[in-house]
Point group: C2
Chain length 144, copies 2
């Protein structure tokens, strides 16, 4: 469903949502250790998310990544997935037909469209604020 890069991205964002205190940064080492992902590879993913303004990065001592608190309610899983995996999950034909559409549907067009819609809704309705320290009392499982 999601690429590994995307899974790492989602896990990292959930981790940041829970650990971003206003003004302090989580280091890459910290993040990748806590979400069990390859450090250098995760670095690329976080860079991508930073370029797209979902998170803020800071170089140097005490640097790292963080999410601005005010953005927690604005960002949902769909934003993350779109940046890392693109929109193919949302728009491409289930059988890979370029020309498939409502008027020229592939044999499973209807069924697959419904699934896609469910996925879109789920991603859109799952906001980072749901994982923030305010909302979540319990520990979030992101390892292994």
């Amino acid at each position: 469903m999601f690429s590994k890069a995307c899974k790492y991205g989602i896990k990292a964002m959930i981790y940041l949502a829970l650990h971003s205190a206003e003004g302090s940064y989580c280091s890459l080492t910290d993040i990748s250790a806590n979400i069990d992902s390859p450090l250098a590879f995760t670095s690329k993913v976080l860079q991508q998310l930073a370029k797209n303004k979902l998170i803020v990065s800071l170089k140097g001592v005490n640097g790292g990544f963080r999410i601005e608190t005010k953005k927690l309610s604005k960002i949902n899983l769909l934003h993350i997935v779109k940046i890392i995996d693109g929109e193919s999950l949302l728009y491409d034909c289930g059988l890979g037909l370029k020309m498939c559409s409502d008027t020229k549907p592939c044999p499973i067009h209807k069924q697959y469209s419904l699934i896609r819609e469910e996925i879109r809704k789920m991603l859109e309705n799952t906001s980072l604020i749901d994982f923030s320290a305010n909302k979540k009392k319990q520990v979030l499982i992101l390892l292994r």
Copy 2:
């Protein structure tokens, strides 16, 4: 969602469902031309489906592949997907966590489980008989 191999497999099976007359075979050339898939690669996929008894293959002149008519109502998309892509789509954690389960759920476990269930239902409820000559009067779009 599905690998390319799996998409080719599904398209091939839908094509065969529509064109399998009792006792006659569709050639690989015929199939791959009509579903717009790479011939040699599709060959491997069909071999896999044949080994798993979903279709019958015959070498030599007038040979090829076919689905036994009586099997049309027995085979659904889930059978095909399981053979080609395995069961990861149905059972693996959305975030790739090995240890994720109902009792030790990842942060999106509930949401993702519901989607997975929808996918399973859709695949299970879509039978090859829905694409057979008896059922379908219109041309099925499988190209491009």
